[in-house]
Amino acid sequence: MEDSVVLRADSLSKRYGAVQALKNVSITLYAGQTHALVGSNGAGKSTLVKILTGAVVPDSGTIEINGKPMPVGDPRTALDAGIACIYQWPNLVAELSVADNIMLGHHPTNAFGIVNRKVQRRWVRNLLEKHNLQLDLDAPVGSLSSVQQKEVEIAKALSLDASVILMDEPTAALSHSEVEKLFRSIEQLCQQGVAVLYISHILDEIFRVAQRVTVLRDGQLRLSAAAADLTKASLVDAMLGRELSSEVGQAKPQDQVDRPVVLECRNLNKEGVFSNISFKVHEGEILCITGLVGAKRSELVRAIFGADPADGGELWLWGKQVRIRHPLDAIRLGIGFVPEDRHQDGLFMQLSIGLNTIMSSLNRVTKAGLLHPGLMRIAADEQIGKMEIVPAIADYPVKNLSGGNQQKVQLGRWLMGNTRLLILDEPTVGIDIGTKASIYRLLRDLASNGTPVIVVSSDIEEVLTIADRIIVMADGHITGTYVRGFVTQEQILAAASGEMN
């Protein structure tokens, strides 16, 4: 293992509107070394990756590769400089074949630009053999399972003969044996002198694979040290920042056993997505569904809400079986849903806070068949007050609000209606600590008043803070069910990686 510097990134910063995604982050990668980048959701890891691969232009900072400065903001430049990346979500073209996707952008061609398919097949086959990957070279990538697509994504990065390989949550959606294959490949790469940046929040993997660790939190560098000098505990401390739990306060222990069941899922399944999902939600509880990226948690809750209905299984609400094929069905039954992507699915960015708030409860502000401006105004102001939205002006355009306040608007929308069960998908990603705390308080109040809450979250710290019960999913199955106070972080992580409870 040499000590030569392959990549040096200095003081990178990036701001998105009101959110400082990255602030003065520097990182150095050495040849033949695996460097882990750690942090919870929204800590800035993805932004850093996007800057290094040229997908995003940083507001400030420089990048040097192999001693030479690298211009930012152009993926071609980054690729030519020798930076490859295994992205978290596979970046593939569904209609093209596996081989074409792997070699996309650098096919073997002759002088006329004609792709030498024979040579390409040979290269790809050799590559796959070398890394023990089994893939059908001619299959259109769109027909593959998510695991296979991930493997194509991995092969794609490996095919570039890069000097730096970034891996963004590479083991998400992979089973145990595939993870082992990947680790062997990483070893091989390091022996060849490649520098690997390994992004993950699974601690066991990090200690297994990395020699150096950098921790990001809230966009800033918190810790950078040799892996040998760290313990799991110190790592977790740096990642989570223990101050948080004291801010939120301890949730009151809840006695779940005898509470009435509000929602029961029996054997829900959706072909190719999730299967065998059975669980219960009780009155007054906050249930967290956690897992790694690709565990299909969002798909599950969207199915419960009727946005992408399940293929089979039963849903029972307050002891009566129900059919939910469309969000309207769910809303009529009293279920509310705050989706993961508030820009694309949740809010009407160009409209006002008031309009966003009343949009699910139009019948409540209608009198004699017509919308009543007075009722609209009253209802909007009431929710804005309850949610403590800043600024508390009903006409204010939602797009100018901070992320946290935007989430509160969504909460307000559902609380205005007859919501008797609220589902939230990754509600606090990219939100500042203060607003996170107030959202946790709102959820806790809601649950205490009888309305159960289901929270999908990848943030294990968050889960351990607010959940009364925890369900862990991996690759479309439930792998563990726990009660708070009777589970450790390690157990959750293990279940999330696919080890059954």
């Binding site: 809400f305 946005a307 969000p327 309207l328 769910a330 809303i331 009529r332 849903f337 989706p339 694309q344 699915d345 949740g346 809010l347 009407f348 960015m349 160009q350 409209l351 006002s352 008031g354 309009l355 949009m359 699910s360 139009l362 019948n363 209608t366 068949g369 017509l370 919308l371 401006p373 007075g374 609209m376 105004r377 909007a380 600024p391 002006i393 009903a394 006409d395 204010y396 355009p397 100018n400 929308r413």
Partner: protein, 334 residues
């Protein structure tokens, strides 16, 4: 930006002052101001433009486009488009004329039949776009050709005369207190549409769909049904216009309404409603229709040939869209 309701207005409280107000006015009404300047230029070239008679002509001429524009505004607000309205105009007038040809006393049935025919077109469009998820431009393009073909099939390319009953001819040709009747129809329909837009759940849902259709679905709004309705309304507007036109010129033909959709879209876009959906209003389409009629009138007075008129109007739409987009960006960036 126009808001769906008058009481919960979208106002950007963060900027104040005269400069900000000026920017806002230019951003929202810039197009209309520009066109007003253009028509003023017409009047300088031909003073006859400003005669009372000519002005009444303009408002009269705007009624036809206006009825269609206010009914098609909702479609545009949902990020869709309906280019089949011109053909539907011909179909509806033709159906009414054919009924009257067979029996001149069937006044009400003829109108109902014409409207029913346009409703069928609207429903077909709506079903294909909303429930099959096909792109509006292609569906209404196909509808444009199909409806025109059907009209030709049932009526041939001849002119069908409508000589009776007097009630029918009154719709397009009559006057009340000296003002042509179509103007009343136009304003009545415009008022109705504006009311729906501002005071009903339907109106608010239309805006919601235009701003963010996925969010609208997740809010439990009846998105597919509303999308169906807006195409139905659009075709009904064309149907009403078809009857007014037939009554006005006492004839019906399968060839009427050719390229009328261009005028309608021009009126909507020039009025400031965005083709991207979620922004605009019925009252803007009224203004747009008036201005397009003024431009048409001006071009006729200047003796511009029909082909060139087409180009001029096309140019105006495009400039309107591009300018509108730029003005929007500019006023937002500051």
């Amino acid at each position: 930006m126009d808001s769906p309701t008058s009481s919960l207005r979208i106002s950007d409280q963060s900027r104040r002052g005269f400069a900000a107000l000026a920017r806002k006015i230019i951003g929202q009404y810039g197009l209309l101001i520009i066109l007003f300047i253009i028509t003023f230029a017409f009047s300088l070239l031909r003073p006859a433009f400003w005669s009372i008679n000519n002005q009444i002509n303009i408002v009269f001429a705007s009624s036809l486009i206006g009825i269609m524009a206010v009914c098609s505004t909702f479609v545009v607000l949902t990020r869709g488009i309906d280019i089949s309205v011109g053909s539907t105009v011909a179909l509806s007038g033709l159906v009414a004329a054919l009924i009257l040809e067979s029996d001149g006393t069937l006044f009400i049935p003829s109108i109902l039949a014409g409207l029913a025919a346009s409703a069928v077109v609207g429903l077909a469009n709506g079903l294909a776009i909303s429930y099959l998820g096909l792109p509006p431009i292609v569906v209404t393009l196909a509808a444009l050709t199909i409806v025109r073909g059907v009209a030709l099939l049932i009526g041939g390319s001849i002119l069908h005369l409508i000589r009776e009953p007097a009630e029918f001819l009154f719709i397009g040709g009559g006057r009340v207190l000296g003002v042509p009747f179509p103007i009343f129809i136009f304003f009545a329909i415009a008022a109705l549409m504006l009311f729906i837009q501002v005071r009903t759940q339907l109106g608010l849902t239309v805006f919601a769909i235009g701003v963010n259709e996925r969010a609208a679905t997740l809010c439990g709004l009846p998105v597919r049904f509303v999308k169906l309705l807006v195409y139905l309304i659009s075709s009904l507007g064309a149907g009403i216009a078809g009857i007014v036109l037939a009554s006005q010129v006492s004839t019906a033909s399968a060839n009427y309404g050719n390229a009328l959709e261009l005028d309608v879209i021009a009126a909507i876009v020039v009025g400031g409603t965005s083709l991207n959906g979620g922004q605009g209003s019925v009252h803007r389409s009224v203004l747009g229709a008036l201005l397009i009629a003024a431009v048409n009138n001006g071009l006729s007075i200047l003796n511009v040939s029909t082909d060139q008129q087409l180009i001029a109007k096309g140019a105006i739409i495009v400039i309107a869209i591009v300018l509108g987009y730029w003005l929007q960006e500019w006023s937002e960036r500051l």
